[in-house]
Amino acid sequence: MTANRIWIYGGIALMFIVFLVAMTSGVVLKKPLTGKDNVLEQVQKIKQDINNNHWDTAQNDALKLNKAWHTVRTRILISSEKDDIKKIDERVESVMADVETKDKSSAFRQLNLIKDGFRELE
C-alpha cells in the first residue's frame, strides 16, 4: 500500500472516529465536568430542601439546577434527541415554578421525571 493510500485511509478512519465520538459523546459529556454542572446532585438537593420545607434554599437550588442543566444541555445537543432535551427543559421550568408556589407533590413529580429523563439521555 502506498504512503498516499495509507494517509487517505487513515484520514477516513480518523474522520469516522471523530464522527462516532461526537454522536455518542452525550453519555460522557452529561457527567459533571466543572463544579457547577451536576444536574442529578442539584435534583437531590432540591428534594431534600423541599422535604425539610426549606423553600428559600430550594429556590436557590432550583436556580442552580437550571444553570447546571443549561451548561450540560449545550454539551449534549449534538448527540441527544431534541425531544428529550425539550422535555427536561420544560420540567426544570416546572420545578422552578413549583418551588416558587411551594407545590410539594408537583415538584417531586417533576424532579423524579428530570432524574429519569437525564439518566436516559445519551
Partner: protein, 242 residues
Amino acid sequence: MPESIIVIVRAIISFFSLLVFTRLLGKQQIGQLSFFDYITGITIGSMAASLTTDLSSRAISHWWGLFTWTAFAFGLQILTTKVRWWSKIIDGEPAVIVHNGMILERNMDRLNYKLSDLMEHLREKNVFNITDVEFAILETDGKLSVQKKSQYEPITPNDLNIPTKYKGVQTELISEGVILHQNLEQVHITEEWLLSELQKRGYPDLNKLNYVSLYTDGTLYIDTYEDHLVDETNMSDYEGPN
C-alpha cells in the same frame, strides 16, 4: 447553541459519511443502476437527509442505518462478483426481446415489459421501424440495447475495405494553465518539449492556456482563455435578459 448549528454539524457528518460510503459502493451507484441499486441509492440518500435534519431522533441511529445499508450493499456487490449464481438472483440477467427480427412475447411477459415500452425504447435509440431490428436486449438496468440489421447500420471504413489509422485517446497535457506531469510521463514527452512546441505556436505564457491536449497522431490541440471571436453565434431567438 442554536438549532441551525446542530443541523450544520449533522450535515457535515452526513455529507462526508455519504461521500465515503458512495465512493465505496463505486460507479454502480452513479451509473448503470439496476433497480435494486436505484432503490438502495434512494434509501441511503433518505437516511443521510434524516441524519441532517431530523433532530427528534439521535444522529447515531441514522448513521448506523446508513452504515448498515452501505455494508449490505457492498457485501452484496462482493457476493455477486464472486458467485455468478447470486449475481443472477440479485441482478438478474439481460433478456432477449427481439431475436432475428422476431419479438419474443414470452420473455416480455416474464419481465412485465410491454410492447409500448419496447417501441418507446426503440425510438429513443432512433429506431422508428421494428423491421430494422435484428436483436434487442433488455439489460438488467432497464435499458434496451439494439443491434440493427446489417443493411440498416451506417457504413464503416471496414465495409468499404478502406484502411484507417490508429485512433487512440487524447491526452490532456495542460488544464487551466497547469501542466499535468503525470500525463507527460504517460506519453513519454518532456516539459521542455511541450514548452518549446507551445512557444513555436505563439503561446509562451501558460497562464493564458485553458486546455492543451495531445492526439495520438502527434497534433496538439490548444485552447486559450481569450477566444478572439469576431462573430460569435447568438443562440437567443428573441430579446430578453441574458
